[in-house]
Symmetry: C2
Subunit: 201 residues, 2 copies
């Protein structure tokens, strides 16, 4: 143990916290020392929640949203409009669209967006699965709800070209989303408006 440093288990906890997005070295240190002061139950509860998420959460075989039960609650819900499929980049985006309360169709989670620089091509995303879903029939409209970023737009255009020949209507969220922003930080009203004003590609 270097005299000027924290004991090894704490240094390691600081390091692990630092790996999380938006947690800098100072915040990580603060969090680690908070854990030291916190009850053992709280520390164990967080540790347990971390491993449980990895153990119990799977992807829905149909829409690839995260779920504990397969098929997921959306795909399993007979009340939802199965002719509508909303394509999003990430599972969190499903929650964001749901929060608007204005959508009653199904989802398809791509798990990313096309990004040649980072080596993300169509084969890294759930693209083939989307095409097969549409080919299987019953889908009337596919709504592109990818992020209004360069990658999101490119992904949307790419999918539109593949889906158009299948005779399905392809729309995207209305302009109204500020460009370069991240879907999960949009307010509900902006997202509701964008959903209402979606335009055919």
């Amino acid at each position: 143990m270097p005299e000027a440093g924290a004991p090894e288990p704490i240094a390691r906890l600081v390091q692990e916290f630092s790996k999380l997005p938006g947690i800098g070295p100072k915040s990580a240190q603060r969090l680690a020392y908070h854990v030291l002061r916190a009850s053992e139950d709280d520390a164990r509860a967080l540790a347990r929640a971390l491993t449980d998420v990895k153990e119990h959460v799977v992807l829905c075989d149909t829409c690839f949203n995260i779920t504990v039960h397969n098929p997921c609650a959306f795909c399993d819900d007979e009340q939802r409009d199965r002719s509508l499929v909303c394509v999003v980049e990430q599972p969190l985006d499903v929650l964001v669209v749901e929060r608007t309360g204005g959508y009653r169709g199904l989802y398809h989670v791509l798990h990313g967006s096309l990004n040649p620089i980072d080596g993300v091509g169509p084969e890294q995303l759930r693209v083939q699965e989307l095409l097969r879903r549409v080919e299987a029939g019953g889908v009337v409209e596919v709504i592109m709800a990818t992020n209004p970023s360069l990658e999101g737009e490119a992904t949307s255009m790419y999918l539109q070209r593949l889906l158009q020949p299948l005779g399905v209507k392809v729309t995207r969220l209305a302009r109204g989303l500020p460009s370069g922003a991240d879907l999960e930080y949009m307010d509900d009203l902006t997202l509701s408006r964008a959903l209402e004003g979606r335009q055919e590609l």
Copy 2:
């Protein structure tokens, strides 16, 4: 599972992250979904670090700093000046004073400051242990490095009244620390200056 919500294990992880200081509901959600995307190894490493900290970190019997080995590296280091004891509120404050590189004495960690509103009295802090350390002899000077807050100042004054009769010199960090600030966010230079200019109480 409520349709609009996240699957239970994720909701629980969001909830556990929210308990950490400075992590709001949005940040907690972002962190939880990051964990979902991250490797299982990373999630397990954080979970392991959390439980290890609780299992392997103890308090030094002498200075009550956190440590893996008892006595801690400071109390065990024959090179350090054993006639000097620097009193701090929290274990993290030890690291902050060490970073200045200008202190070669020992420490005493109170684990808090006097706060009657929150029900923290001298018996909740390591006050008796500090008095016994000084009574045991060998300590020439006790440096108060409590936070420059109302509670920190009150703690410092309270300890000064108890220590003075024991024939020990009691000093405190020089004014120069902006009042109301938190010790752990001070820059090294400000803290070095405050350490050099410490004044007898």
